[in-house]
Every structure is written in structure tokens, then in C-alpha cells.
């Protein structure tokens, strides 16, 4: 149904996301860091981006900023994953253009709830 890009350097997190969202009918595309995510975003349009913040090569903040500069991603919801419940990080990510966040660890229901919130089938 929805095309979702998940960007995380942790394969277990990517896999978790795929395992939860795949059966829910979404098409999940994986990327291992910000620059890979950006490259995939340029090649295809997405309905939602779920990204980690701490990643090698290009971190999540940088990627979010770069995505927002792309005309195709101006209105696309971007959710970041954060292990911190730190407001400063959230503010920074929001300022970079993020729509919302998911705190790690998350349960499948929580992920589905956030996706349902931002993606209209």
C-alpha cells in the first residue's frame, strides 16, 4: 500500500520494521545510512520515511535536511527513531524538518500506530 523508506545502520531495527510493516501491506525499502537513504529517495517516491539519527557516513539530521530540500519530499512525513527521550534532540530533528519520532525500543503496535497516524492508505 504505502511505500516506506527505512534508514538505519542497525540491521535488526530495519528488519524489525520490515517484519512489522510488510505484513501490514506496506512496501518497505531499506537503506543503511543517510546517503544511501537519500540516494533511494531520489530514485523513487515514498509515502513515509523512518530514519535513525545516529548513523555513519551521513546522519539522520543531515538526511532529513537534504530530503526536505527535494521538491518531491516537501510534504512527505519523516519520522526519526531515537533512543533518547531527550527534548533537545527532538527539537533539533523537528527543526531539521522531521514530522515525528518513535522512541526505541518500540513494540510492533507502537510502530503501526505511528505509521497509521502519518500514512493514509
Amino acid at each position: 500500500m504505502a511505500n516506506i523508506l527505512t534508514v538505519d545502520d542497525s540491521p535488526s531495527v530495519r528488519q524489525m520494521i520490515k517484519l512489522v510493516l510488510g505484513p501490514a501491506g506496506h512496501n518497505v525499502v531499506e537503506a543503511g545510512d543517510g546517503s544511501e537513504g537519500l540516494a533511494k529517495a531520489k530514485a523513487q517516491s515514498f509515502d513515509l520515511v523512518i530514519t535513525d539519527l545516529n548513523m555513519p557516513v551521513m546522519n539522520g539530521m543531515q538526511m532529513i535536511k537534504a530530503l526536505r530540500a527535494l521538491p518531491a519530499f516537501m510534504g512527505t512525513p519523516i519520522v526519526f527513531l531515537t533512543t533518547e527521550s531527550d527534548d533537545a534532540v527532538k527539537q533539533e530533528a523537528k527543526a531539521a524538518g522531521a514530522t515525528g519520532w518513535i522512541t526505541k525500543p518500540f513494540k510492533p503496535e507502537q510502530l503501526l500506530a505511528v505509521v497509521a497516524k502519518l500514512v493514509r492508505a
Binding site: D9, G32, E84, S85, V89, I102
Partner: protein, 691 residues
Amino acid sequence: MELDPTETFRQEASELLDSLETVLLDLGQTPQDRDLIDAAFRALHTIKGSGAMFGFDKVAAFTHDFETAFDLIRKGKIDANHDIVTVSLSARDYIRTLIEDPDSTDPIIGEAIVEELQRLIGAGPAAAKNAAPAAETAAEPAPGNPASAGWRIEIAFEPGILRNGTNPLVLLDDLRALGPCTVEADLGAVPVLEELDPETCLITWTVTLESACSQEEIEDVFMFVRDEMKLVIAPLAAGGQSGFGLDMSMPGDAAPATATAPVVEPEAAPAPAARAAAPAPAAPAPEKAELNRRAEDKGTTTVRVQAERLDELMDRVGELVIAQARLSQIAHSGTDLAIKAIAEEIERLASGLRDSTMGVRMVPMGSLFGRFRRLVHDLSRDLGKPVDFVTVGEDTEMDKTMIERLADPLVHLIRNAIDHGIENADDRARTAKSATGRIELAARYVGAQVLVTVQDDGAGLNTARIRAKAEENGLIAPGANLSEHEIHQFLFHPGFSTAKTISALSGRGVGMDVVKRTIEAMRGTIDLTTIPGHGSSVTLRLPLTLAIIDGLLIRVGEGRYIIPLSAVEECIELTAEAEARAKGRSFLNVRGDLVPFLRLRDVFDAEGQPDPHQKVIVTSIGDTRVGLVVDQIIGSHQTVIKSLSKLHSDVTMFSGATILGDGSAALILDVAQLVTLGQSRAENDRTPEAA
């Protein structure tokens, strides 16, 4: 290919635990380092979080206490000290067993570790204990409002909200999902069309929601935009609910706790006390530093490929290189210029592909070095010898299989260095050395080789004792005239140990010969140097890879052979004049140095007449040089190493074989063995003269 998700978690956790170990060991040395404390906290946090996601509940539960402890350290409530580091290291080991082999774990051990931790933390300020439960309970929903007939909700977003990917319509839909809604939009602030900016949201809404839902449920709808809007939620004054009325003002300016405690955040809203204690402005800076640092750390783990696939790729590339050699040979024996051009192009591409493929297999030595820090930490504690462990050249890269095979030999060498090399504290004090010993593990490139050295600042080798032991074992005649260097070589003899007492760690004499054999099996060499009173160092010289090497193709009689180019120093002609001067003995004068040489024709019992112009290839292993006399030097050759079958495992003179361009096979000479052979013949040549 779909991996078992828990398997992915295991792999990831294993990497996290490795980095946690490194971080903890570093922390033992610099307990104040904020970056390290953050890194430890993060590793524990991720293990706990992912563990909970993947059903490793025991892991999550056990890790929780340590995460809490490091959170307290992070917030400056307690100090990281040596004891905490030590107990955390045991905890790290316990977590590893919990993940890898949960059946073998004993809960009593886990409890003991946690108790020890509690005891250590308990010594800190009282606040320490209270913060954790507070953080846990904070996630509990605040007492909800009693069901009302409905709510009146006023919504005003900041104008820039659309640029964040927020869609107000979706939020209104979410409200509608809670119950029947009446939505009124106020378009008053929207300008005329010419002045309209479609990316600016100037509409405000008033929603009447007929639902018995709680206020939290409504706030949850706006969880992501709570800070960028004005939200007023008031219960509808209806049937007996009037008590709340207008007082039920909106928590718009309330504490951050309300704003950030949505459903997906079980750990949000830490106890206000804890938050206040952390100086607010200080928070973002270390966060950034950690971000960068983590990005660097993670650099080595981004692509996960099974090792077998890499081996397979390497095999394919090897076959390509062989096929390419055949093509080149055919092209060059013909006259077709176009084919020649293509052959050259393919040669260039194949060699590029070979280099990149080998590059993919390269792993920084740091991954190996990291393991030894724990070894040194534990040994130094067990033996009561404080040791500074210094590593240099972690970036030096080597073939993955080489690195794996290097682990055991290095364990032996490091154990030896601590157990035998470093003196005990009293002896060190007597010789005016610092009480803390120093062991340096270093790696660096030298040409196509990697030099790995293990150096200690201990007492150095006791040459006299080694000599006595060698005489006692009947390895040398009493009083034989040997250089110090030659005497030290006995340490590599099987079963040779000068340790006065056999400790649990070393001294059983089964180490160094195994080390030497392992290193030589990797086509490497090992060398020992020592300065009495100042320490000793062991140097391993290793090729970068085991798969493909640059070789020198030679001919001896009818057979063709490969000499690894890295061992070749120079090629010279064996002139009749030089041979006459040698007077039948196999020595060659190379610019004033006497170099023994071996006639490979003799060694291999070659038939037929030798070529009139014999060539000498001067090869070297370490400081020892030997000339190899061959019939013809054919040229350099990209050598794909194929190992010999088990049947030939006792053939020492060859280290492998390769396939040549015309499809025939060539054996690869084991230069180390030939050098030893050449040296021993030289000894025999010398001895009659001495007698």
C-alpha cells in the same frame, strides 16, 4: 535472503558488546570521559531496547540495572570508578552468555552481579536509587479525566507546520476516529490569493468531539506537533460534568513531561528531579560529539556479508585472473593487434577487480586488537602486575581470514609478555622502572607486508638461561659458538621452556613453536629481539592476503615455479667468473656480502642440461638472505594461490600451487623453508673449514 531476525539481533548485540568492552576498558583508565560514559550507556540502552523487541526478556531485564547505573553516571550522580568498570565487565560477559547460550547461565551469577552493582551504586547519593523507579512510573498515564459527554478542542498550528510533513487533515481525521466531530475552520487569517503562500498554514480549527475518550487520547493525536501549536482542550459542559468547566484549562504551557509522554514513549518524561540535575545547556554538545563519534565507530560495520560469499567472490576473481592470463598469452603469441588491445584492457580490469575484491576482504586490525585489551586487563589483575596496554596502527588492514588466524598467536605472545616479560613490581622498583609495565601492540605496512610487533618493557630475554636449557636438552653441544640471535631461536623449539615454574598462563613450552608454525603457515615470519633490562619485542611479518600474490615465474629444468615477489630482493646473473671464485662452495659475493646460494636444479633433481646463463634470485626472510639459482626468469605473474592437497601436506618446500596461462600448473616455492635449507647447507660448508 531473509535472515532470522533474532539472529540479526545476536550479531548486532555481539558487536555492541565488543564495543562496550572496549569502552569500559577505556573508562577504567579515564573514568571522567563523558564520551565514553555516553557510549557505554548507549550500548546498554540499545541492547536492552533491541533485546526487548526481539523477545530476549532476560537480557532486557538484566541490562536494565546497568543502563540505569550508567544513566546515573552520565548525569553525574555517581562516579565511574574501577569497581564499577570491573562489575560492568562481568555483566557484559553475562549478557553475552544470556544471548548466546541462555541455558548455560546461572541466574545466581546474574543476581550476584546485580547485587554487587547495587552495593556500589548504593554508596552514591541517595538520589541514585530513586531515579530509576521514578522514570519507570512516569510512563503511567496521568489520572485521566472522567468520561465526559465530549470535548471542545481549539487548534492553531504554527504557520510553518506544513514544511515538516505534518498534514492537519490527517490529524483531524484522527480526531474523528475518536468519535463524531464537528469541525469549524477559521479562515480569517488567510490572505487573498495573490498573497497566499501555500506552504504556510494560517487556518485554525475548532472541533467539537462527542466522545467519552480521555484528554490524553486527544493529546496523543497531536503528539508530534505538540510543541508547534496552541491546543486548548476543554470538556463540554454537559449532563453532570459541569464541575470541570472552564477550569480545565489546557496544558499548553505545562511542563515538558505532558508534551512528551505519548503512547510510543514508555521512557519519556524522566523524573523532573533527574532532568533538573543535568545542566540543560551542557546536554546538546556532548550529544553531538557522541553522534560524530558513533558515526566513526560504526563505519566498519555497515555492510554485512557472509564470509563464505566473500570467499566465493575471491575464488571467481582468481579464476578470472587465470583465464585472463591465458588470454594474454594467446594474444601476445599472435599478431592480431585488436586482440592484443582487448587482452591488455582485460588484464587491467582483472587486476583492478582483484585489488577491489581483496580490499573488500580487508578488515582493520583494530577489531583484533580490541580483544586483547580485555586479556591484558584480566592478566594484569590475576598476576598483580599493573600494565599499560598501548595499541598502534589499528587502521592497518589485513585479509579477514589472516586476522582470524592471527588471534591465537597474538594471545600467546601477549601472555608471554605479561607473564615472563614484565617483571613484578618489586623488581621493577629495583631497576628504577615505573611500577606500571608497558606492552605495545603495533601494526604497520611495510611494502606488501604487515609488520605486527608485540613489545614489552620487561627484563628482556635471559640468553644465558636459554643457552643452558638448550645444552641441557641436547639441542646444542656445550660451548658451541652461537650468536645471541641464534640462541634465541631455541625458544621456537617444540617443548622448550625456561620458565622456572609452570604457571597457569604460560611456561609449558607449547606456545612459541605453535606460534611460529602458525605464522609460517600464513607465509609469514617471526623474529625476536631483546635488550637485556629493557624488554623484548616479537615481530611478525605477514603478507596482506593469502589469496592472490604477485609472483616471479621462473624455470628450473622443465618445471616452472613461482617465487613470491615480496621475498625477492634482486636478480643477478651467476657468471662463470663468480662461480670460479666460489671454488665449488655455494657462496656468492653480493656487493661485499657473502650470500649462500642453492642450485634449484640440484634441489629438484632437474634433468637435462642447465642453461648456459644461470640466474640467481636473491631472496630474503627477515635478515637472512639466500640466492636461488634458476635456469630462466620468465617474468612477473599474478599468482592465484591454490593450496596443496592433504596428501602433500608434508612437502615443506612448496607452499601451494597455481595455474598458469597455458593451463599447466606451477608450484609456489616456500621461501622461508628454502632460506633455512640454504643456511644449513652453508653451515655444513663452513664447518669443515673451521675444523
